[in-house]
């Protein structure tokens, strides 16, 4: 008995010596977390960021890292659920990450942000667009490489008023943080611009049938429909509207500006408007990133890939410029330094919103989203 204890403690001591020995040779890595929906039905929004972060980090590490220190990624799944996101955040905090790329969905981001704020971790989301995340001023650690919903809603409203000339509007949403936020802003701006909002309602996401609400739209006299939410419900709505012979303009948000929407809705998608991030397909860095993605992962990158790529580039740049991983220094560098990214030359304003990148209106034409100038 005694002997085995002695042997064990010798072994343990040896193990400690070995690990200490190892650590001395290699400088400590810079740990960056990547969080978002990597499983579940919104995984198609989250997985591209993982690939983006991997590609950026691979490039940086191949060139010798940041000031000689390698970057290490910690990838955690939050399934876009706020209750999972808090666990994800705690996990990343205990992994001692210095920055997080994520989260993807606004609800999950909000849930996680408080935890990062307490631990002083810079958080750069490629896709969380709820305005209050930056405008409340509550989260000085939060940045995003996407314009907030109010910018999107403002653009959508002006488009409805000026380009489509709509006077009477129906606004529907999916009762979620993202969709309802967008819908409420459109309603607010539309009423300020003198457009009459005759219908403002939430529908149950995932329901098989929306014919009742479609009847209600028909009865309300609206001449256009705004949808705040994601693509699964949007495709059912446009399908059931067109099946009833209602051919109203359908205007939606970034949650619908995804090729999956067109794939699922098929011919019914034709003519649908959606606001989405500006087209960056002419940006050489974006082209290279997409090509690298194709070479490494075998397919075209998905939603928010370029935003996540730029977010990672911005974080890497800020750490480099700051010369440390100190929270104050990094967040100051994010705000003051301009960096050339896949989205163009960007920086962040005092609240954490991106400068140099915004939204455009798109329309489905011949099975593809085309940017309307």
């Amino acid at each position: 008995m005694k002997r085995s204890i002695v042997v064990l403690s010798v072994l343990a001591l040896a193990a400690v010596l070995i690990t200490v020995g190892c650590q001395k040779k290699v400088t400590e890595t810079i740990k960056i977390g990547v969080a978002g929906a990597h499983s579940g039905d919104l995984a198609s929004y989250g997985l591209p960021s993982v690939n983006a972060a991997k590609l950026v980090v691979e490039g940086v590490n191949a060139k010798g890292g940041i000031n000689g220190r390698m970057i290490e990624l910690f990838i955690e799944d939050d399934q876009c659920k706020p209750e999972v996101a808090t666990n994800t955040a705690s996990k990343l905090v205990s992994d001692n990450v210095v920055a997080v790329i994520g989260h993807i969905c606004s609800g999950a981001t909000k849930a996680a942000l408080g935890i990062y704020k307490d631990s002083k971790i810079v958080t750069v989301s490629p896709s969380a667009t709820t305005p209050t995340l930056t405008q409340s001023g509550e989260y000085p650690n939060f940045f995003r490489t996407i314009a907030p919903d109010d910018a999107q809603a403002k653009l959508a409203t002006m488009f409805i008023k000026d380009k489509l000339g709509i006077k009477i509007l129906a606004v529907l949403h999916d009762k979620g943080d993202y969709g309802k936020g967008f819908a409420e802003l459109v309603k607010q701006y539309a009423e300020a611009e003198g457009i009459q909002v005759v219908l403002f309602e939430g529908v149950n996401p995932g329901a098989p049938d929306y014919s009742a609400i479609v009847n209600k739209i028909g009865n309300s006299g609206a001449t256009a429909v705004v949808w705040g939410g994601y693509h699964p419900e949007a495709s059912k709505l446009v399908q059931q509207m067109k099946d009833k012979g209602m051919d109203l303009p359908f205007i939606s948000d970034d949650g619908v500006k995804d090729q999956t929407f067109i794939d699922v809705a098929g011919k019914y998608a034709e003519g649908v408007y959606a606001t989405g991030p500006m087209d960056t397909s002419a940006n050489p860095m974006a082209i290279k990133a997409a090509a690298d993605h194709k070479a490494k992962f075998g397919d075209d990158p998905g939603a928010f890939f370029l935003n996540a790529y730029a977010a990672t580039q911005a974080v890497v740049n800020a750490i480099q410029k700051a010369g440390s991983t100190d929270f104050e220094a990094v967040s100051k560098a994010l705000r003051s330094e301009y960096v050339e990214t896949t989205l163009g030359k960007i920086s962040f304003d005092a609240r954490g919103d991106v400068i140099g990148f915004g939204f455009s209106v798109y329309q489905v034409q011949n099975g593809k989203y085309a940017e309307l100038k």
């Binding site: 579940g40 039905d41 009742a212 209600k216 699964p232 999956t260």
Partner: protein, 300 residues
């Protein structure tokens, strides 16, 4: 008035969608006294099977009616096999244990199947091709009811009649009723209850498969999660009408569909689920066994 009729018809269409799934729920409950939470998943698997088989046959260049027929057949066979296997593996070993064990087992199976499909197929939403014909005589009234809704309504009514006939007038139906009343006595008079219960599950799963094909055609999309949402609503409908009763499930589904549709139309769709559950609570207070449920006296 026109608006009211439109809403009533969309409620009817919605109700027939719920009824297609609720029929299988209620049938299994009626015979085995088990709330088969995996029923929604079998419905989803039925839809996926039709999607895969239909896609394959379409690439072979077959005509749409042939594709529809074979994909429905394939999904019935595949879903029945699932239903049969689920009963054998997850419910039969627990048949003489407390009812709660089988219920938990059912919830577990439901999760396993959802995740299985998510991993084996995809987590994305897929387009579901519309195999159902566009009936020309409904074209003028498509504002009120379209052909897919009409086909679902007809199929639901037809299935309800067939099921009632099977249970009331056939030999296996008699055995089912006997098993439902008293398993032990049924066994004593020579009913093979294992076989009867397997047949019940096979029929229930076939109904789910037909529902899967029709409802996915209507929605135009499929995803591994659709069974959960539909299953919950169908369950409410079945309880509303009196769980275990075949006409009750259909009646409950229609009441649910009408309530949701009229509530959406005249009040707000924000509280769509609330209307459904208010009706459920009212009915359960006034008539605890559901509208058409049998009042079973509990022996103390």
């Amino acid at each position: 008035m026109d608006y009211f009729i439109k809403l009533l018809l969309s409620g009817t269409a919605k109700g027939s969608i719920y009824a297609l799934i609720a029929l299988g729920y209620t049938m299994v409950y009626g015979i085995v006294k088990l709330i088969n939470f995996a029923h929604g998943e079998v419905y989803m698997i039925g839809g996926f099977t039709a999607l895969i088989v239909g896609g394959f046959l379409s690439t072979l260049g077959m005509s749409i009616p042939v594709v529809l027929l074979f994909s429905i057949l394939a999904s019935i066979i595949y879903s029945s096999a699932f239903g049969f296997t689920i009963e054998r593996l997850a419910y039969r070993p627990l048949r003489n244990k407390s009812r709660l064990s089988a219920l938990i087992s059912a919830i577990g199976i439901s999760m396993i199947l959802q995740n299985f499909i998510m991993l084996a197929q995809t987590e994305k939403y897929l387009p579901f091709p519309s195999y159902l014909p566009d009936l020309p005589f409904l074209q003028p009234v498509r504002e009120y009811i379209n052909s897919t809704q009409f086909i679902i309504l007809i199929t639901t009514s037809f299935i309800m009649i067939i099921l009632t006939i099977i249970i009331k007038f056939t030999r296996i139906g008699k055995a089912m009723r006997a098993t439902s009343q008293d398993k032990q006595m049924a066994q004593l008079v020579g009913v093979n209850i294992n076989q009867v219960i397997s047949v019940t599950f096979v029929i229930g799963s076939s109904l789910a498969a037909i529902g899967g094909v029709l409802i996915c055609s209507y929605m135009g999309q499929i995803n591994y999660y659709i069974g959960f949402v539909a299953g919950i609503k169908a369950f409410v409908a079945a309880v509303l009408g009196g769980i275990g009763s075949i006409p009750g499930a259909v009646l409950g589904s229609f009441i649910l569909g009408w309530t949701e549709s009229l509530g959406t139309g005249f009040i707000s769709s924000d509280y769509e689920d609330a209307y459904a559950f208010i009706i459920l609570i009212l009915i359960l207070i006034l008539k605890p066994d559901g509208i058409l449920g049998k009042n079973q006296k509990q022996k103390v």
